[in-house]
Each structure stands twice: as C-alpha cells, then as structure tokens.
Amino acid sequence: MRTDSKSDISHAQLFLRRHERMRSRVMRLAFLAAAVCLWHFLASAGVWNELLFPPPREVLQSLISGFSDGTLPAAIFASMWRLCIGYGISLAIGVPLGLLIGRIRLLDDTVGSLAVGLQSLPSICWLPMALLWFGLTEAAMQFVIIMGSLMAVTLAVRDGVRATPTFYLRAAPILGAVGWRFYRYVLLPASFPSVVTGAKLGWTFAWRSLMAAELLYVTTGIGSTLMMGRELHDMALVVASMLIIITIGLITDRFIFKLGEEFVHKRWGVG
C-alpha cells in the first residue's frame, strides 16, 4: 500500500520512526563510550599487569602506528583479497549446486547428504589436509575458506529452492521457461531471498575460516597480525587486531548484506 505523503498521519509516523532510530543510535554510542571509560579505569587501576591488560590509549596508538607505517592496511588488504577470492569461488559453486540439489532428488541423496556431513566439520580441520596438498601456499588458505563456506551456501540455497511455492514451478513451463531457462529466469530469482541468506551465512563462515587459518599460518593478513601480537607479547596489537576484525565483520553485515535484505523485503515482502 502506498501511503499518501500529503497526509499528516504519515508525516507524524515518519517523524516518530526517525526519532526512534535517532534515539537508539544515541543509546548505542553512549553505551560504547561507557564501555571504553570502564576499560580505561580498569586498566589504570593497576589491578592487572599493564602488559596483559593495556589501556585504550595504547591500543589506539598501536592502531595509529600500524596504519601510518602501512602494516595494518597491507594486512587488511591481504586478508580481504584472500577472502573475496575464496568466498567468490564458494558462491560461484554453491549457488548453482544448491539450485540443482534442490531440484534433483538423486543429487540431493548423494551430493546433498555429503554436504550435510561435511557441514559438521569445523573448517579449520581442513588445514592439515590443505597444507599437505598445497604446501605453504595461497591455495591452501583458499581451500580452507572454500571448504568452510561452500556447504553453508549450498545448503541454504537448496532449502530455499525446496520452499519455492508450487505455483511458480507450475507457472514456469506454461510460460515457456524450461531447461536452463527455468533455472536462470525462474528458480534463481524465486529463491533469491535464500540466496541472500546463504550468501550472508557463507560470508560469516568464510571470514571465520580465514581468521582460523591465518592464526595457524605464517603469512600477511589480519589474523596473522593478531598472532604476531601474541608472539611479540604486544597486547595492544592483539586488541587492535581484534577490533579491526570486529569492525570488518560489522561493516559487511551492516552495509553489504543489509542492502540485499532490504531489496528482498521490498520486492518479496518477506525477510
């Protein structure tokens, strides 16, 4: 239903909604500030060794020096690049695979149940195999990311396909959407809401797998920076790296996947 922009009621509603959003934003910022203050006081109270519990100031300094000497941007870039390639491959395989598995019983009984089984394996368990197969190469890291996220993407898309209303499936052949056209022009868009869900889930898994892999592997990357902090007993660097990891997670969730979900909500009226 389109609301009449001239009506006072919709104006008032809009105002209230904006007001509410503003208030929750302020609350969030205030809470964050309070947490940082608490952190500061706990650290300066001297209960714990400063080497093990650095104050916010030192973490900030660590961030600033890391960014100004270029090591942090390089690490972030290396991790994101790795992630995008591995995740991209996961999507490129997982979405079509999920569409097919959702439609073809034989594939579901075979490949589908294999995916369900592998899903229960924490992705880092792939690292030993990856190292033996690929050695200390980028390919080993990509392998871990892909194995960590591929099943989640595939299974989410499969579930979406299975939940596709029968009337779409019946409308397709009478509209001439058969063969590959059915998959491309009906099934893929019809299950787009679950593709978004799967993509989001896959991203989370890919990100976690990458961090786990980088912690155990000597390379450039934000996970390795975190581990380097440990080896150098540089607690400020450890916390700084963790903050960066959190921030990247939040940004992708808030901006990239929010856009997809809003699109789905607008067109499909769900989600």
Binding site: F167, G176, V186, A190, R267, G269
Partner: protein, 261 residues
C-alpha cells in the same frame, strides 16, 4: 479455439488416510469457444480436473484430448490462472506480462507493442512499472490475466481466480473476462465454489459430486449476455444448483467421502 475432451479420466492420490479419489471416470466434451464453469463441494476434485487438463498431473486412467490429440505435459496453449496469482515479484508489471514472450525469444519491439495493448486492456497502463508487491489483489489478477493473454492460449484454465477479491473488483473482472472471451472466443474452463459466479459467466455449468470426483449434473445456461450477478434469472438458476450442491454435500458427508474443509 480448441476443443477439449476427457475420456473416462480417473486420478487417485495416496493420502495420509489411504486412497483418495481425485477424479473417477470423468467423461466431458468441451467444444471450442465454450465458457465452462465447474462447481462442487470443497475437495471434490475441481483443482485436480484443471491440473489434469493443464498437464500438471497425469491421469491414472483415461485420456485428455485437445483437438483430438492426446496432451503431453504442460503447454502455453493451455494456460492456467491460479488462485494465488503466481506472478513473479522480482519483475515489474510490464515484465511479468511479457515474460512468456521473452522466453519464446519474441522480438523486443513486438514485446513492447503487446505489453502496451494488454496493459490498456486490463487498465493497468499507469502501473506498468510497479512491482507486484505494490498491487492490490484485483490488480494482481488483472496482471495474471494479461500475462495469460500474452501467450494467446487456445484454452484458458482458471482455478477460483476471483475467490479472494471484494465484490466490486470481482464484478469488474467478470466484465473484463467476459469481454475477452467474446472478443477472442477462447475455450475457458472456470472453477469456482461460487454458484452465482458460475451462472453469471458460464455457457454451461457442471456440478461435481463430492464423492470421488465425478460429474453429477450439468446445466446449460442460455441467458443473454451481458449478465449481472443480480439478474433474477441468474439468481433463480443459481439457487436451483445450490440446492443440489447442498444435498450433494450432505450425501457426501453421510457416505464419509471427503473431508469438509
């Protein structure tokens, strides 16, 4: 224009509580250009009848013939308008209407021309770029009708398409559908549980039995067009059919035939 013939068609389902007879020995000849309405108690097999004619379900027994040839699966020549409009929410109104033409690889210019003509016909020109989610129920069914007409099917199968609409919108759609039928002379098979709607639209009404999906009675409707739901003759014939329908529902219940939902 095409005639449809069902010869001794039966269809059973295996439900939770045993075998359910969807259709039992249905014989039905629908001459080209007829507007056939199908009424019957809920669960009597009306949707199954349409699904079998559409080719969505294979009959267990018997044949469905179109112009004398046995059908093989769904085809755009027997187009179905579902109760839920089954439009694609990822496409706008215009794109939904020409979707079938696009699949058939029809020239873009011809697609545009057809879209304009159909949008005008169903009074949706102003909403050509709207998305399905922004339309009312009546507008959705008009898009579904336009999408069906774009395929120019010989047979139009409609399964309670107006059941969820308010009275005014339904009246308008009755007029539009009747006009389409008069202009194009398509064969229309229209399923409804509303007897008056059946009499208002149909050139023949068939009443299905609530016990095992067979045809109980048929009523030729020889009233002049265009009719109205409130016409005395429409109401009179409808009440006669409704009495029969009510008795049938009671008989079906006593026989423990179908559930009553």
């Amino acid at each position: 224009m095409a005639n449809v013939e069902l010869k001794n068609v039966s269809k059973v389902f295996l439900g939770q509580s045993g075998v359910v007879h969807g259709l039992t020995g249905v014989n039905l000849a629908i001459p080209a250009g007829e507007f056939l309405c199908v009424v019957g108690p809920s669960g009597c097999g009306k949707t199954t009848l349409l699904n079998v004619i559409a080719g969505f379900e294979l009959p267990d027994q018997g044949d469905v013939l179109v112009d004398g040839a046995r059908i093989g699966g769904p085809s755009s020549d027997r187009f179905v308008i579902f109760q839920e409009p089954a439009l694609f929410p990822w496409l706008n109104v215009r794109q939904n209407i020409v979707f079938g033409l696009r699949m058939a690889g029809v020239d873009q210019r011809i697609q545009d021309e057809k879209a304009e003509a159909l949008l005008k016909m169903v009074h949706l020109t102003r909403f050509a770029s709207s998305f399905i989610n922004e339309l009312s129920g009546g507008m959705k069914q008009r898009v579904a009708l336009a999408r069906a007409l774009a395929m120019d099917p010989a047979v139009l199968l409609m399964d309670e398409p107006f059941a969820a609409l308010d009275a005014q919108t339904r009246d308008m759609l009755h007029e539009e559908l009747e006009a389409v039928w008069q202009q194009t002379n398509k064969t229309i098979i229209f399923v409804t549980h509303n007897v008056r709607e059946a009499v208002r639209l149909g050139s023949r009404v068939i009443l299905m039995s609530g016990r095992g999906g067979s045809i109980l009675k048929e009523y030729p409707i020889d009233l002049p067009r265009n009719r109205y739901l409130e016409d005395v003759q429409v109401v009179t014939i409808a009440s006669k059919i409704r009495d029969e329908l009510r008795q049938e529902a009671v008989r079906a219940n006593e026989a423990g035939g179908t559930d009553a939902h």
